[in-house]
Amino acid sequence: MFRISIAQRLALLAAFVALVMTLAVSVLSYLQNRTVLITHELVDLADESNLRMHELREESRFLMREARETAGAIPQPEPGMTHQAYLRSEAFRRSLVQSWERIRQRCDERGRRSPSSWLDRGVIRAIYGLAVDSEGGSEVVQKIIEGTDGVLDRSPDRLLASEALADLQRRYKELALQRRPTLSRQLVSDVRPLSTGELRQAFCIGFEMAGAAAQPLGLLVIVVDFTRMVENRARHSARHLYLIADNSGRFLIHPDAAYLGGSIREDRDAKGRIRFAFKNVPWAKADGSDEPDEFSLLGESLRTGELPPSLTFWFVRRPYSRGTPFQNSEQRSALEADLEQLTLRGQGFRFSRQKPESREITLAAQDKEILREAQRIVEHHERNIGHRQAEDWEGPIFCRSFAAHLVPLRLGPDPLGVEESGDNPLYLIVIASLEEIAQDIFKSTRSVLWASLALCVGAGWLALIPAVFLTRPLKRINQAAQRLAEGAYDTDLPTKAPGEIGTLARTFRHMAEQIRQRDQELTDALARMQAVLRTAADGIITFNEQGIIEEWNQAAERIFGYRGDEIRGQRVQQLMDIPPELARYLGGSDGSSPSLQNVFGTPNLVHRGRRKDGATFWLELAFSEVPLKDRRLITGIFRDVTRRVEDEERIKQLNELLEARVRLRTAELEEAKSKLELALDAAQAANRAKDAFVRTISHELRTPLSAVKGFTELLLNPKATKLRENPIPTLQKIHSASEYLLTLINDLLDVARMTAGEPIQLNLAEFEVLPFCQAIVEMAQPLMKKNNNQLVVDFPAATADGSLLRMYADETRVRQILLNLLSNAAKFTENGQVTFQVRQNDDWVEFHIRDTGAGMTAEQMQGLFKPFYRIDNSTTRKQGGTGLGLSISKLLAERMGGTILVESQPGVGSEFTVRLPVRVADNRQALSAPSAPRPVEAPRNRHTILVIDDDPLSREMLQSFLQREGFAVIPAAGGDEGIRLAREHRPAAITLDVLMPQMDGWSVLASLKSDRRTHDIPVIMLTVAEDRQRGFALGASDFLTKPIDWNRLSEVLHRYADTSGHILVVEDDPSQREHLVQSLRLAGWQVHEASDGREALQAVMTDRPAVILLDLLMPNMNGFEFLEELRRIPNAEHVPVIVVTAKDLDEYDRARLRGWVAEVIGKQSLKEAELLQFIRKHLPMPLTASPEASHG
């Protein structure tokens, strides 16, 4: 259906419509025609039959007139003659015969005039004149007319059965006797088939005298032969059939002889329906009743119907379009003669007589064979006359449906039965075949059909033309649409066409334009997207809800290793371990899967992805949803972030390193800062100390001075009479004060001298200790007595080897010290005991002075050796104590290389220990004075440094720098070279670059440290990255990072001409000590520990550490004391000490510490790294079992 175009459809429609219309028209016309034709035919039939009856009636009327006229000619009877007599009279007889004669003549004339009259054609077989006697009887007087058909029966008796005649006569008589005033009497005899196929009837016309009283004179008996009538007609028309039935419906004349005697009324169809009957015909019933029955139901004229099979016949027709070829009568006669022969065969053959104006010939027969024969005869005759027939025979048509017309036949003057005669009429039935009629119609209809067909086609074609015109623009639009669909935007459109087409075309063009634009936009967008997908560095993958991968860009190929065609259709789970959220989402079969935004909290996930070859890597994913119309897609962006992750790791590490470095730097800075602060503090403290000292001195001096001045003034004051009367006590006070003043000044000068750094001259000599001590004891006795103290001595008899104890020292100074201590002991003890003990300890002499005095608290002990420190001010001064004694003593002791230690318990007593070397060394530097920290460096301008660095630039820089610093430099470009040179030249130190191509720094370091020849050379690692632990573990002495801090390097190098050792931790608190020790050991140091100053000194003396970690606040001997003592130990003055203290140092503390202490760090802020840092600064990395580490 779809292939038929609009045009074709229109055409078809037009054709169809035309067809329908024409069919309708033709059908209608056919029906109409048929109706018309049938009506026409029936009218024809009616006319035909009516004509026949009319003709019959005319004949009878003619005869009646003749009879009347003739009867008028008969003379009247003579008067007086009876009618009977008249009738018998000769005159009458003669006139009657003349009348008969006259009638006969008249009939002949008529016959001659109209050959078609019944007389001529033999329908009126005979006319008899009958005379009527007075009784009414009659006798045949004369046979007027004889039958003209050649078959003459002279005997009237033969023509009319005697009974019939007799009957006629009788009935006439009755009528006559009834003296009916009608001139004509109708007397019809029974219809008597006189012979087979002949049907005759006679009727009388009465001969009567004119006059008032009609007197029958004679009878005309007219014999009609109906068969002849039918035959005659049949001969002339092949189209119609003639039948005669009596009033009971019995066929009297029937083409099918077999059917004669059959009745209309008995003709029923298969269903029992009456097939042939006439309406309003008072058929006489078989039973004689007159009631109408169903036979009367059909119309008077039967329009259609089927006659009994025997009435069927075949009908053919030959049209002569140019008129009949049988133009002359001879031809016609010849033809008719031959055809007549066939009629004698019966079978109802009939044919149409040709007239010159005939345009066809029709043949009909009940038998087809006869028909065919007839056709052959006609064709034969046609050929004979040389006629070439164009039209063929129409038919044979089988005729079995008929239209019929019924005409009642009444003989007599009024055969149409206007007068009720009561005689049984006959019925003439004229029948026309409907098929034959239809043939005509069909012929015309056929032409109509052809015409309609032609019309259809024509209409179709016609319709096609405008349709095509109409649809051509549509076709163009269609083509344009197709081209548009294919992507071509050129529009060949009938935009100028009028009406809707034009509008459509213009709209279409507009639409095409829009589509083109949109297409373009889409293409652009697609191209852009494709470009994005193609060039994206990240893999862009689209997959559906089940995880089946649909799209896969090039970056994804690169990342995962799968080609697009390999992976499409696979599941995304293949590519990675799906995070549980996505797995849940993908597997979600509950249908209510939440949107991805809800599922994933964070937009990016980092996960392990899997490549085609199985390798895993780090993957960063981001998902988003693509809701399509009927399904959901998920687009994922995948990035290989392995490198990034690694970078991040590295960055993190670097950050940590950086932070460590920063912390280190910060620590260093802080260290520097604190150092500066210290220096500042020290300087300030020094200033303050100086100020304080000056203040104190001033105060101390002014006090006795005030006394001197004051008391003197008193004495001089005239008012002070009491005083002046007894000036001695006052003078004594003055004296004492001035003495004190002197002592004070002397002491001060001593202290000043010592503090100034002037080397106190020591008068060193050897002396025996015991006598020396004994002399001291004697000197001290008075002091003891003052406070009622007992002096106990404890001197060893001899030394270990039996010799007397000797000292090589400054006797005076020693005495000064001991006397000071003893006098203190005496002062601060009342009613107690003072013990003076001397002991020798290897190289040391110890003088112990114990008292049982009040004792001192730790705090008091703190300030003991401070200048002018007095426990009890008044007491001391009273006793002439300047408060400087202990300070001087201590200074002196230290000057001699020893120390003074104090132990005391409040309430119990105190013990002072003077520790001096047996042999006081000479020419010491100003140890007794706190000085600036001695630079560890010795001028090492000639020392050699081996520089191992692969980068020539770095190497050169380092080399030139070191040379500037005064070092000799040996460069090495690689590890192997470096190791070889190290072995050869044994430099003072090696700088080693860590990152070197051939043999990296670590390997070099390991190699150096494991080689006996080079393992003691300090190695300083130079590296960009910080890997200290590793370095130290391997044995790097110190660690510097590139870019090199040249100062630091210098410092370190200068420092590291030295050797390495261990750390001594001096800390009284066990847990803190443990902490420090462990930390340091972990860092790789060798650590010794001491819990107080004394222990520490022992430790130092037994095993000199390389660095000391010192807590200031300790019992027995606090940090300061320890430091003082430490400095007295030979070889220990260079040992760097790092003070770790919680105590807030004051100026003096700091001043004291200054120079002795390398670093001061507060405990609170103590961090291992810082501590390590500080230590490292001063200590080269400890080697394992370094031979130089152990010495005292």
Binding site: T703, S706, V708, G710, L714, D872
Partner: protein, 124 residues
């Protein structure tokens, strides 16, 4: 002719002060340190206080501040005796509450004059 409290830790100087002041007919009471001084003041308020600075237990500054803080003792005139006569010391002494100060060794004539002045001022 007033009751003067001398606060001085050095016995010798205390003795000197006492003798000199008594020569001027003052009534002299003594205290060896700040604590003792405060006690004495509470017990037997003097007309004037001569306060040494450098003392054990509680030094002169603190004692003076305490005295000035206490409304009862606020009005008592105080002369600080100090060995140190720098500007800072002077300022410190005055800030602590001294009405005047005198450097050691003391010029007794001048001291007496200051005493008289302060006594006159504080007398109702």
């Amino acid at each position: 002719m007033a009751k003067i409290l001398v606060v001085e830790d050095d016995d010798m100087l205390m003795d000197l002060m006492r003798q000199t002041l008594e020569l001027s007919d003052h009534l002299v009471a003594g205290a060896g340190n700040g604590v003792e001084a405060l006690e004495r003041v509470k017990v037997d308020p003097p007309d004037l206080i001569l306060m040494d600075i450098g003392m054990p237990l509680m030094d002169g500054y603190e004692a003076m501040r305490r005295l000035r803080a206490d409304p009862q003792t606020r009005v008592i005139p105080i002369i600080a005796l100090t060995a140190h006569a720098s500007v800072t010391d002077r300022k410190q002494a005055l800030d602590a509450g001294a009405d005047d100060y005198e450097a050691k060794p003391v010029d007794f004539d001048r001291l007496e004059a200051k005493i008289q002045l302060l006594l006159r001022r504080s007398a109702p």
